[in-house]
């Protein structure tokens, strides 16, 4: 153990960022989840983000096999998992090497010294042991022989093999971190009891190791003593921690119940969208029909079929899958049936960076189809509001008889945060355009005067037999029509129908300033990073910077132009090469838009945003 650690100090912190890293098999996701859940129960606001390799079981100890989980907890509002960390727990050399750059200088690193063997150092491409040279002088390093201590703690527990014993060492680390941040071990012990109900020796082993870690931290004087983070001021209510993809799935469950329709999901597995399928297949008790199709195209076309037959029908995918669904999306637009397509965006193009985040499918969502084929595009902006936007996408599809694309991204889909539970009763009503019987002069393309939505006559309804299809249709009967004027009329009315959605969506709001020197503009999953940065600057005295974040992309909110023109400079921040900026330019003449783009498969960092904004208001 090194002696660079300063004297213990007692300190109350507003927020702390902790990252647990280790081998794919070291249980880092579980460790991180337990820490964040315990903190949430304690009353902290939290945000988490997992970071794991795309290899399912990467070679042990390798640099690319490192799995990590980051937790940001606070007594203040937390909007992102954060970038640089206050505490790094590294279970092996590879984890240390790949994450060291994220540790704030002067902050703490806990390592399992038992993992720093010659072999593991070689695998991590270390030429010398970083614990023995001077490379970690800028950090407070706590060296713990976690594997040996875990073995020692478990020497009297029966029924465990060597592998089982060493696999518990993550609980030793967790126990230590609980002590450091003044957290109770109770929640995690309860978790063991539920999770391993039928395996009492596993409960015993994990509990012992967790407590051993906790006691160890308490006993050795080398560890700085407990920090504490008070509960955050949050709106009263019942909460739970929710991942973005789960929230998306639940939004659809709520929409189905509220609309009185059955939920159909046609889907094909693709990272990072698959968890929505995983969640919905569980809920057969609600009558959910989850259909894993043979490919992306069958995912959406079965969805179109289910919508034709009267279900709330959705399909889920990510970028390459949306490309495959393009033709069918055109069909759904042409036959004017309600479907929702969820695109959990990942790094593109082509296969791109499947496990990384990006916002580069915006133009594909807007225009990725043949012909004039407008659809509604909405984007969720936090893990928790994936619930609201899945619900909203369903509502818009059903009320306006059109496909809706819901954009989320890998960052908010895999991230988790507290969700104040929104009961189905609290959610807005969902109407639909069903017709139940024939009346004189009924036609399948009769439209609602206000929304222009056509009526929805489903098979099984006597007297309303009709045919629809991808060929251009007569404006009244829906029969095939090649009449030139009819085609132009139909093209325009389909566009007008989408445009009129503006009358049914809320205005975009500006935060922090309604006018001034700089408007920070974002959309979708970057809300947390942008909001945090602008808020921080506002706190530092920059009262002339406003923030406008968009969830409705097509159509844009009615007041968009008004909001934009109130600022001297506008910077559009996106995790792509400027796609939303393009959309704004197309819509509003003469706007001088600045751009801040990042295309690294990573979310915006707090420092880079603040530097950029400061430079722009100089």
């Amino acid at each position: 153990m090194v002696s660079t650690i300063k004297n213990p100090k007692h300190e109350v912190l507003e927020a702390v960022i902790i990252r647990f890293v280790g081998d794919s098999g070291d249980g880092m996701q579980l460790t991180g989840t337990q820490f964040s859940d315990t903190s949430a129960m304690f009353g902290n606001d939290i945000a988490t983000f997992p970071n794991y390799p795309s290899e399912i079981r990467a070679p042990q100890g390798s640099l690319y096999g490192v799995s990590g989980f980051q937790v940001h907890i606070g007594s203040v509002e937390i909007s992102t998992p954060g970038d640089n960390v206050d505490l790094l727990v590294a279970m092996n050399p590879a984890g240390l090497k790949t994450n060291l750059h994220s540790v704030k200088p002067g902050h703490t690193i806990i390592v399992d010294t038992d993992a720093f063997t010659k072999k593991n150092l070689e695998k991590a491409q270390y030429e010398s042991n970083p614990l023995e040279d001077d490379s970690l002088n800028n950090y407070r390093v706590i060296e713990v022989a976690m594997t040996s201590l875990t073995k020692e703690a478990l020497k009297d527990v029966e029924g465990l093999d060597n592998k089982g014993i060493t696999r518990s060492k993550n609980m030793f680390a967790l126990g230590m971190v609980y002590w450091m941040y003044d957290r109770s071990t109770d929640y995690t012990i309860d978790f063991f009891k539920k999770k391993f109900k039928s395996k009492p020796h596993i409960i015993e082993a994990n509990t012992k190791v967790l407590k051993a870690g906790h006691n160890y931290a308490n006993t050795i004087e080398l560890i700085p003593s407990a920090y504490s983070i008070s509960p955050a001021k949050m709106e009263p209510g019942t909460y739970r921690i929710i991942m973005g993809n789960t929230a998306t799935a639940w939004g659809f469950l709520a929409a189905a119940e509220k609309s009185g329709l059955e939920l159909f999901l046609g889907s094909y597995p693709i990272t990072p969208a698959t968890d929505i399928l995983h969640e919905l297949v569980k809920h057969k008790h609600f009558g959910v029909k989850a259909f894993q199709a043979e490919d992306e195209i069958a995912g959406i076309t079965s969805t179109i079929g289910a919508s034709f037959a009267g279900d709330l029908a959705i399909t889920t995918t990510s970028g390459p899958g949306l490309a495959l669904k393009g033709e069918a999306l055109g069909l759904a637009m042409m036959v004017e049936l309600p479907i929702v397509v969820v695109n959990v965006q990942r790094g593109g193009p082509s296969t791109g960076l499947p496990t990384k985040t990006e916002q580069s499918d915006l133009l594909q969502a807007m225009y990725g189809r043949n012909g004039e084929s407008p659809v509604i595009v909405v984007a969720a902006s936090t893990p928790a509001n994936c619930y609201n936007f899945a619900y909203e996408a369903s509502k818009l599809a059903l009320e306006h008889m059109t496909p809706v694309i819901l954009l989320t991204d890998g960052y908010i889909a895999n991230g988790s945060a507290p969700w104040k539970i929104q009961s189905v009763d609290e959610m807005p009503k969902i109407k639909n355009n069903r017709v139940f019987e024939y009346h004189d002069n009924w036609n399948p393309y009769d439209r609602d005067e206000d929304t222009l939505a056509r009526n929805w006559a489903i098979p099984g309804t006597p007297g309303l037999e009709h045919r629809i299809g991808g060929l251009e249709k007569d404006k009244v009967t829906g029969n095939v029509s090649y009449v030139p004027e009819n085609h132009e009329y139909m093209t325009k009315i389909r566009a007008e129908k989408i445009k009129r959605v503006q009358n049914y969506i809320p205005d975009v709001e500006t935060e922090f300033a309604d006018e001034g020197d700089l408007l920070v503009v974002g959309w979708g999953g970057t809300y947390g990073s942008l909001h945090t940065a602008v808020k921080q600057m506002n706190g530092e005295g920059f009262k002339n910077i406003g923030f406008a974040h968009f969830n409705y992309i097509n159509p844009l909110p009615k007041n968009t132009e008004k909001v934009l023109r109130k600022f001297r400079k506008i910077v559009v921040c996106e995790l792509n090469n400027g796609q939303f900026a393009k959309i704004l330019k197309i819509n509003f003449n003469g706007l001088d838009l600045l751009q801040f783009n990042k295309i690294q498969g990573l979310p915006f960092g707090n420092t880079e945003l603040i530097e950029k904004f400061q430079q722009l208001v100089k």
Binding site: R240, A298, I304, P459
Partner: protein, 336 residues
């Protein structure tokens, strides 16, 4: 309560749209056979749905006064699967052609057969692409001269029945495009069958592949060249009803009753219900005689039944009756 089904005539199933296939096309025969078969099926008109892909055959739904969707190329089985899963009470029909089903839609075709939803698929096989004006299809013969193979086709064809049975088809039938009565009977059987049924119609394209099946389907040769199989009946054919099939080792052989000591009892008896598809595949592959009729009809559990059973089981064991129960279950906490 089930309401009585009105007695329909074929006119009830004809839409007001002008039929626009080429004069003399077998598609007219298929359309009329379907319109005549539907009143015999005991299904309500509003419960019938036709889903098609793209191609000449896929115009079919427009001509039926039922619910219908003219989909996109190759995807009809997937669209139809969605319709059927959303409402299992519907009678759902897929209309497709050889290109639509086995080229661009090959993936959906094999998977729909594998799953065994209660759907009916009518495959119009004319061994050519008609709507795009005469390119070879996945069933065109090697050497066949088409617009896209002016020196002869070099791509060996699929045999639809072989592909279908290889894809776990439980019901497969084949019929000539010029035998409306037998065709209508088969459509009725397909509707009765619980599971995915596939009927391949050998459909003559008068413009781009005229006479492609004449050697089997022409009235003058039909009885000698075709064996129309029936359940539990010996596989006998020929104008004189004197030819039949026997097994010789692992091969089917055509024999003449009364010659070489062969009696009617020696002739193989057709069993479409047999689970083992070996003999069915041999019948599909036989070039002389061409076997028509319902070659395979193996009753199996349908996808709907599997899904219903699972849902019932999950519902019984579930502690959730509405969405809020889920939201408030497990690890929630209060903020005051």
């Amino acid at each position: 309560m089930e309401t009585a089904v009105k007695k329909y005539t074929f006119r009830d199933f004809a839409s007001d749209q002008e039929v626009r296939w080429c004069p003399g096309c077998d598609d007219y025969v298929i359309l009329r056979s379907m319109q005549k078969a539907l009143p015999e099926m005991g299904v309500k008109k509003e419960d019938v749905v036709f889903i098609s892909g793209i191609g000449c055959s896929s115009r079919f739904p427009y001509y039926m006064d039922t619910y219908g969707m003219h989909g996109i190329h190759g995807r009809a089985p997937a669209i139809a699967s969605g319709v059927k899963l959303a409402n299992p009470d519907l009678s759902v029909w897929v209309i497709t052609g050889d290109g639509d089903a086995m080229a661009i839609g090959g993936n959906h075709f094999i998977h729909v057969l594998r799953r065994n939803l209660d759907l009916n698929i009518i495959l119009f096989n004319n061994e050519i692409y008609g709507l795009t004006k005469g390119q070879f299809s996945p069933t065109s013969l090697v050497g066949q001269k088409t617009k896209s193979s002016p020196y002869g086709n070099v791509q060996p064809p699929f045999l639809p029945g072989e592909l279908a049975i290889g894809s776990q088809a439980r019901f497969y039938g084949r019929i000539g495009g010029n035998t409306p009565k037998e065709m209508a009977e088969m459509f009725i059987e397909a509707e009765k069958f619980k599971g995915t049924s596939l009927i391949e119609v050998l459909q003559n394209c008068v413009i781009f592949n005229d006479g492609c099946f004449t050697q089997y389907t022409d009235k003058s040769v039909r009885e000698d060249k075709q064996l129309h199989v029936k359940q539990n009946k010996p596989m006998i054919f020929g104008k004189e009803k004197d030819k039949g099939l026997v097994l010789n080792g692992l091969k089917l052989e055509v024999v003449t009753i009364g010659e070489n000591g062969i009696a009617e009892d020696d002739i193989l008896v057709h069993d479409a219900h047999e689970k083992d598809p070996t003999l069915h595949q041999m019948l599909v592959r036989l070039e002389y005689p061409l076997v028509t009729g319902i070659i395979r009809r193996f009753e199996d559990v349908t996808l709907e039944e599997r899904m219903d059973n699972l849902t019932a089981e999950v519902k019984t064991n579930s502690k959730f009756s509405k969405t809020d129960d889920l939201f408030y279950s497990g690890e929630t906490y209060e903020v005051n």
